[in-house]
Symmetry: C2
Subunit: 331 residues, 2 copies
């Protein structure tokens, strides 16, 4: 049999387990020219929350009672496709299923001899590309500047901060536990890290850790944390709106301080960043990330959960920050 | 004697007449190498409100009991300066005084034979440059796109909308009276104009007047009007934060809908625009504006108030939208 996780109900607020349902079906057989894939690693990502709402966004909503899709590493266990051999490993935006067939469309072969398979869901995957291209295309970070990263201990944040250090910048991370603060400073070389959950005055904490102000803000969270950073931006600051995890579960349109006066007085730029807009730059970005990763200049942080049935919980846990680095489910 | 208007108190909320005081002093005499100027036209501008607060911004605050400064057209009535002759007309960022001396620093000669003097405070001055450079440097407006302008009947808005039409765009203006709606459509060629004061559902009005969505938003007002526009922006939209007149008189930090989710889902850009950041582009912009103005392709809208003592009231009236086009005080 074959387990599939479908969207049972559209979450209201923070997702709960009963929003998902596992259904079993017959294990599929590959058709002519197809491959049969066995899922080995499933990526859970905050942006999936948006697709669970029935609202227009940059990517179509998931359909009710249909499988959720995310980045998946799978093994080719049967092949009738000329380009794929049994035993190879591939990456694709695939269904949350134990087994599935594919025509090969949208699938990429990955080299699991060279790098651990989960790296292709993190540092060498969408989160790595997001960090690299967000900084290069919008942040235009230059040596000696100050970079603040929110959601700093997450999949994108850990990479963004390390790139900032490689570029000769002062890097300050904002995260949600003392353990993460320690990890960012010790394992990833951040100059400073702030635990927003135990910091009473975030503005003061930003001012203290960014004595020259903030030049680039890589924002993964939105909400009050971002308001504190905005208060300290420098003239011509660049703010990359990469995510807004603090707002994804709001049941009404989120409100907060008007950003316009902050942008106006600093001639600052704020731009929404969706990595898929920059596909033309993927090869260049991947080349650089691969070089840095293979020479140990950037490191992968990941939280690996085990078991197909754990996928929904792993996804839910993103919103309370249970992950350090990339959250991956190993099947 | 010589009248001078000083900042008597820092306004709390909307400015009132008692925030200003007229003091009289001896008429000054030009020193060695100086010129004596007699004020003929005074520009009142919304951005001056920010300088009346004692807060750090892109320009230093006015000092209490010192003269307010703004763009002024003045006549040289005495000259000990080799470059200026009696009878010439100049523009400068000068004090709200009937008479003042100058070393010539920051002063530009203007040709009042060619264009009416007040044009140098409007279409051929800071507001014209703001409209032109905001659209070209941030808006990057291209033919066939939809441009929405808020504060559309103001000094900057009337020029921005006309430039949008010259560039082959659909232009929709937002303003505060039916008379202004009529003016924008009839005199300035806007495709549509919306009176926000009588429109109950601004989002619906934006959707109805911008059937292809909004590509560029030239924002002079901020607040709820801007929230309605944001809800209708297209992928890769550009939002020029040029002013936030609806927020300048707030006594606490203004709040509203979080813009980050809107920017994120449209990969949109929002940037603070201060014309003085683009001085290197002034000659090019002025060349184009002068050509358009002298060939009748763009027109000046202005509201002229008369009398030196009327300057504070003219300034205050900006916040209730009593002006159509550039508000100027003729002395």
């Amino acid at each position: 049999m074959n387990a599939t996780i479908v969207l049972h109900k559209r979450p209201v607020g923070t997702p709960v387990l009963t929003d998902f349902r596992t259904v079993t079906e017959k294990k599929p057989e590959p058709g002519v020219g197809e491959i049969l894939l066995k899922t080995s690693y499933v990526s859970v990502d905050p942006y999936l929350r948006g697709r669970m709402n029935d609202t227009k966004s940059y990517i179509a909503p998931f359909e009710l009672l249909q499988p959720i899709k995310s980045g998946i590493i799978a093994k080719v266990i049967e092949s009738d496709h000329p380009d794929y051999k049994q035993g190879e490993t591939v990456y694709g935006l695939l269904d949350w299923k134990e087994y599935q067939t594919s025509t090969g469309k949208g699938i990429t072969r990955v080299d699991v001899e060279k790098f651990p398979p989960s790296a292709y869901l993190g540092i060498l995957g969408m989160p790595g590309l997001t960090a690299y291209l967000g900084l290069s295309e919008i942040g235009k970070l230059t040596k000696g500047e100050t970079l603040v990263v929110s959601g700093a201990a997450g999949a994108v944040g850990t990479v963004a901060g390390q790139i900032g250090k490689l570029m000769g910048c002062r890097v300050v991370g904002i995260c949600g536990s003392d353990e993460k603060v320690h990890m960012l400073k010790t394992d990833f070389g951040f100059n400073e890290a702030i635990n927003y959950k135990t910091t009473r005055n975030m503005r003061r904490a930003i001012a203290a850790t960014c004595p020259k102000g903030v030049d680039v803000y890589f924002d993964n969270v939105g909400g009050p944390i971002s308001e504190a950073v905005l208060a300290k931006i420098n003239k011509f600051a660049r703010i990359i709106i990469c995510g807004a995890i603090s707002l994804y579960n709001e049941t009404s349109l989120p409100t907060g301080l008007s950003v316009q006066p902050f942008l106006l007085r600093s001639s600052a730029l704020m731009q929404g960043f969706i990595v898929s807009d920059y596909e033309a730059k993927f090869p260049e970005a991947m080349h650089q990330l691969t070089e840095w990763f293979s020479t140990g200049k950037i490191k992968q942080a990941e939280t690996i959960v085990r078991g197909f049935d754990q996928i929904p919980q792993a996804f839910i846990d993103l919103f309370t920050g249970k992950n350090k680095g990339k959250m991956v489910v190993q099947i």
